[in-house]
Amino acid sequence: MAEIGTLAEAIGDLVGDGDVVALEGFTHLIPTAAGQEIIRQGRRDLTLVRMTPDIVYDQLIGAGCARKLVFSWGGNPGVGSLHRFRDAVQNSWPVPLEIEEHSHAGMANRYVAGASGLPFAVLRGYVGTDLPSVTTTIKPITCPFTGEELTAVPALNPDVAIVHAQRADRNGNVQLWGLLGVQKEAVLAARRSLVTVEEIVDELSPVPGAIVLPSWAVTRVAEVPGGAHPSYAQGYSERDNAYYAAWDPISRDRDEFGRWLEQVKEAAA
């Protein structure tokens, strides 16, 4: 049964230095508030896993929380580059950042394998590209029936998965809808999980397109209205496109970013 508590408690209890942490949400329901709480609590040496490390990971990387990034697309969507990510890769600032780079199909299947209790997944992927020459977690595998060669990728089983959802009930059952990304897979693949939600309600009335994560598949729920800002929570908020644009100059300059970081650290969760 998921325990319901505050965001600060949840991060304190679930995320430790050196953990493998996946914050998921595919352009929708990105758990940015949880990422900023990780910054505030000063976690270090994290292996950050995420298909699309956008602003939320640019912030964590710039704050020096990460030792390694496992990802498939790192950009500020609709705007351009993630400058903190680039600065870390190109200049090891503020700390060196190891990367493990995949494609979306590969990352999605790695979560599926993790959620399924399998050590690997099979896909038609990466063929002819230079990714297998730089990423050790891509290997060939042969079909035992046809002899055809395909590609295998290992399961992702993060220590902690963090996602944002629209609602939970008081028993900790979680409901989300709209673009679903890989949130279910990330939660099910992880050893521990935190779901931040827009609101906690008495009853989860059915919503078209919604999925439910039963309370017993979730470790912790925290009510964090607006916790996905600047992304959005369908039915609750709109994407703040101006914030994505405004992030570019903050991210581009180490001093600007430093001032942003001080503000985040001073803010209460």
Partner: protein
Amino acid sequence: MSPAQDTGPASDTGPTSDEVMAVAAARALSGRQRVFVGIGLPSTAANLARRTHAPDLVLVYESGTLGSKPDRLPASIGDGVLAETADAVISVPEVFNYWLQPGRIDVGFLGAAQLDRFGNINTTVIGSDYHHPKVRLPGAGGAPEIAASCREVYVVVRQSSRSFVDRVDFVTSFGHGRGKGDRERLGLRGAGPTLVITDLGVFRPDPETAELVLTAVHEGVTVDDVRAATGWDLKVAPDLDRTPPPTDQELAALRALKEASK
């Protein structure tokens, strides 16, 4: 002389080079094709096609929407309007495994940071050392498998001698490798890049060698302009076409789409 650089749409001005490119790319789509759409230029072109001559076009986005019918340009592949107007919303694993991988999509519409003479795409790093890149780019996203599994791939990219190179620094998405037959040898099922549209012209792979050949230039562009913006010894098709300029209707539709997305 090249057309004016893109300085934002204005109803009383002629088409910018980006607008010419978007219109040319939109025209390449037709009928009921299923198009796997990357954000940016591909999304603009695909939405323009759907709003003009190809209303039945099926737009598939990697965020998990089948048959999105946005009334404005989505700001990202995860824009809420894509989910709200879709025939079906599915998970990201499902879009890749059930819909892209088996070859259900007709056209993969991709952008590129670097594109080479055989249509290979780089969106990973600029520079020869992956571990110490000159420029770290966003990475692969869905592109490697889009390039592998769609029946055809169209690439839309702003052209310069830096982006149009003899050989990409990193093969993020496989085009035609080092020439004809490489895709078959690797067991790739789709035909790979069959069309490249830039702000200067249109390119197609030579049927014999799979090398990209200039097959059309846009209005106001010369072959020399194109050569100057190409990083290899460019071949030109004997029956070189000239892209008809955007019609008033096309331009109005494009500008309306962009305006609505503000």
